[in-house]
Amino acid sequence: MIVSSTNIATRLESAIGSSRVVTDAAIRAAYAVDEIIPSVVAKPSSPEEAAEVVRLAAQENLALIPTGARTKLQIGRPPTRYDIALDLTALNQIVHYDPSDLTLSAEAGTPIEKLNATLLEHRQFLPLLVSWYSRSTIGGTIASGIDSPLRQFYGTARDFLIGAEFVDGTGKLCKSGGRVVKNVTGYDLHKLLIGSLGTLAVITRLNFRTFPSVIAGSRGFVASFSNAQGALALRHAILQSPLTPLTLDILNPGLAQVFSQSAPATPEASAFSGEARNTNHASLPPIGDWFHPSEWQLCAAFAGTPEVLVRYTRALTRFAEESRATATAFLDDATRPAVWGRLRETLSMLLESSPATVIFKISVLPSHHAALFASLPQIADRNALPHALVARADGTIYFTLLPACIDQINAARVAFAAIQVRNAVCDPRDRANPRRGHASLLFAPPDWKRVVTVPDGGEGFAIDLWGRPPLNLPLMRRLKSAFDPQNIFAPGRL
């Protein structure tokens, strides 16, 4: 069905008021997803209005993409259709906060920073310190499925999201879970929203359990190594010990260079630094000379009483010596933000460092890291592409290719590299093995996600998001049609 944009706008205006509907071309362009521009932007002021917009979209069979701060809309496949941008930033209230129960409910468009500022008044926080932190909304963060270095200690959103309210594809407001920390009443539908890229429902409210903030004396630790083995040996020693660091990441020299060269324009998250946010503080402080950008680095954060800090310092120093670190540094309140702000902003910094950044999210068991730390750099070198890598101790690797520009040669290089990355992560003969890992394409220039023409005469092909369909794609399709029977939510993105 073809409906003219004026027609949609008029219908939307009568549903939620003319001040909440925008058709101006310049504004619409800012809502583009992979260069596809919606016909209209609707900005509801209540969950009911959001439901109203969805009902209208369902009636007219219009494709709708929910948006927050629009920092991560480039994750996923290009949408096949996109008529309405549903801007949720006007839904930005913290609707419930019981500090003595450590639970909080916030509307989807609430900025994470606002949420953490409220929590910090009660010395609590939400351990979602993600890239684009100072701009991100909580709804967008959940829908994008993006993780934070703090997952080492706190887990991912699925471990502390305790309930949600959302609009399903029929335009009805639904909920799952609740506001209590332990709850098995009904299906855990809210977990499905994490990483769903707006394809299942329009999130209107999210409920979390919150955590004591890690302000009290948190410390950083950086150890440098001439090779990856040393960093892995140190990580192994830490993981086998009784220590439970808050973050535990290994950076390759490529990423260390990006860290030392750029200064993201966002200060360290206040919830982590323990300092009130300094608005004059335009960018992170430069990294100190204790950071050796030509080496592999292991970065850890830890917190506790003075006795606990002493224990960590002693143990980490000893482990670092045993694993032959070339240098170590302990970071305090003054020096820590330089590293921790950059660790949090890794993805945003990498995207800013090249117009053609390609980031893979690789999920493997940690024991596979040694092999991948050898093969991934080789793949990048073979295809003449600069690269950067960060590996979390839970197994997650963000592997980044940094071509200098978007052109045909780089497209082909990246396309070849993508195949090689996938084969390195999971032997193609072993695809049915459930123990295998996955390499998903998290970010890539939109054109490359559509089709890449190989110059030597091969057939054009897209650098696909998943490399191949996940084993249980049919189950996911069934779920998608349960939530969104008409396929109006972000069609094609997942």
């Binding site: 019981d98 003595s100 129960d101 450590l102 609590q124 887990g155 699925r158 399903d168 029929t170 009805k172 639904c174 909920k175 799952s176 609740g178 506001r179 209590v180 920390v181 332990k182 709850n183 098995v184 009443t185 009904g186 299906y187 855990d188 539908l189 977990k191 499905l192 994490i194 990483g195 955590f211 009784p242 439970t244 506790g304 009483t305 006795e307 606990v308 002493v310 999210k361 999920s363 068991l365 940690p366 024991s367 839970d394 197994g395 997650t396 459930p434 295998r436 996955h438 998001l465 998943w466 996940p470 084993l471 249980n472 189950l475 069934r478 779920l479 049609s481 349960a482 939530f483 029977p485």
Partner: protein
């Protein structure tokens, strides 16, 4: 059940893997709840392929299918509410892989919870979810119900420790969801299936995270002369953001019954005790134990004891974990409830439970996971007294209603099952049910799997679409609930 049908199942699995005589089936008509439901046939698969074949054969004869682990569930989740074929996973009880380096184990659903921890112990690891029934309950059952336990306060419930599943769908298809590491592309199907109470698929293999055993553990026993003081202590510990690994409360009436039986060392004349555990680095544990002692004292604790050694600690936990058994000595039947409230509402909730007990004429004991607001009021009654049984159910419903009123939920860890399906509308709207039903139908369109669970039967026309086996249990009506 007709003998031709029985023979078909026997041909499939062997005669020693099929039970069909009424006297055998009797053992499978109950679980740890107050509900009943008898299957027409009980089968014991040994492989995933067995499960798939059983499911296909059941489909051919339009028989409902119910999975069951050890039958320790407390909400009727593993009961054949509408008869049919019960798959008991007792013979699928192998630990398939234990990967100490990556802290993962792959297990069959019939592995007993405690057995996994025992197998992991030599590596300094353990499986964190520890329901009170951990020495008999199975991990398959834990997954179905998303089971909790005392130590979930710090470490999370079953779903936080499951990364991948192998499943058999109602049409017999075998699928795998999730990944060993945990992050899998696409929707979090593992997160949906864990806790779906056997209504979406049968779980045939489970990949779990194993946790590292902490360096130090301290177990404290806070002794109080009033329930209110004990409850206020819990509120204060939570509010001060001290995170013990467990924070359990036993009220005086309950602890006296336990003490008579187990001699755990609970003081007989106290009004309530808090069993609190802190774990972690030696330095962390010392600081936390001191902070907790301070909070207990600020709320007029008569005494705060520190378990001197492992033996004393084990005894205290034995008292806690076997409490329900101890109460079994006091009355022919007991009904363990399961509700959740915001933790800040604990003192008033305990007062309200007392009122409800008075109103319905029961002494209601409380022994529960205070730290995460997960109440377990326990009602003692005589099931043979029909009126008393009805009153017990009414009192239970009243308590759960109260939990919802103060912002809580129907169940924290036992599941909805058939126990609470009729209470679901207290929390969920028609739109919520419509969506849950569509998700249910996406996997289990004919309600072949575990029919009559989670969803209220009394909605709509009063009958739910279920496969109708031959025999007296073919129609399910709301009033059929407790017959």
């Amino acid at each position: 059940m007709n003998s031709g049908l029985v023979r078909e199942f026997e041909k499939l699995l062997g005669p020693s893997s099929v039970l069909h005589r009424p006297e055998d089936l009797l053992l499978y008509e109950y679980d740890g709840s107050v509900e009943k439901g008898r299957p027409n046939l009980v089968v014991f698969p040994t492989t995933t392929e067995d499960v798939s074949r059983v499911v296909k054969l059941a489909a051919k004869y339009n028989l409902p299918i119910v999975g069951r682990g050890a039958g320790t569930g407390l909400s009727g989740g593993a009961l054949a509410r509408t008869g049919g074929v019960m798959l008991v996973f007792a013979r699928m009880n192998r630990i398939l892989e234990l990967d100490a380096e990556n802290q993962r184990a792959i297990v069959q659903p019939g592995v007993v919870n405690y057995e996994l921890t025992r197998a992991a112990e030599p590596h300094g690891l353990y499986f964190a979810p520890d329901p009170s029934s951990w020495k008999s309950c199975t991990i398959g059952g834990n997954v179905a119900e998303n089971a909790g336990g005392p130590h979930t306060l710090a470490y999370g419930v079953t779903t936080n420790h499951v990364t991948a599943l192998e499943l058999v769908l109602p049409d017999g298809e075998i699928v795998r969801v999730g990944s060993t590491q945990g992050d899998a592309p696409g929707y979090d199907l593992t997160g949906l299936f864990v806790g779906s109470e056997g209504t979406l698929a049968l779980v045939t293999e489970i990949t779990v995270k194993l946790s590292r055993k902490p360096e130090a553990v301290k177990t404290l026993l806070g002794i109080f002369d009033s329930v209110d003081d004990a409850a206020e202590t819990v509120v204060d510990i939570t509010a001060r953001a001290i995170t013990p690994s467990a924070c359990e409360m036993l009220d005086g009436w309950t602890l006296r019954a336990v003490e008579d039986y187990i001699h755990a060392g609970f003081p007989m004349d106290s009004a309530a005790v808090l069993l609190i555990e802190v774990e972690g680095l030696t330095e962390t544990v010392a600081a936390q134990a001191a902070a907790i002692t301070e909070v207990c004292n600020a709320h007029h604790a008569r005494e705060v004891r520190l378990a001197r050694d492992d033996a004393e600690r084990d005894l205290l936990w034995k008292g806690r974990k076997n409490a329900f058994g101890a109460l079994g000595r006091l009355a022919p039947s007991n009904y363990v409830l399961d509700g959740v409230i915001p933790r800040s509402k604990l003192p008033q909730a305990l007062r309200r439970i007392r009122q409800i007990g008075d109103q319905f004429g029961f002494q209601i004991g409380n022994i529960f996971h205070a730290g995460d607001g997960n109440l377990h009021p326990i009602v003692l009654f005589d099931r043979r007294d029909k009126q008393q049984f009805e009153r017990a159910l009414q009192a239970a419903a009243e308590i759960i209603r109260y939990c919802v009123e103060v912002g809580g939920a129907l169940t924290g860890e036992h599941g909805v099952g058939m126990e609470k399906s009729e209470l679901m509308p207290l929390l969920f709207s028609d739109a919520d049910f419509d969506l849950m039903r569509r998700v249910h139908d996406a996997f289990n369109p004919d309600s072949a799997l575990n029919p009559g669970k989670i969803f209220p039967l009394s909605k709509g026309c009063g009958e739910i679409r279920v496969r109708k086996p031959s025999g007296p249990t073919s129609v399910v009506t709301p009033s059929g609930n407790h017959k």
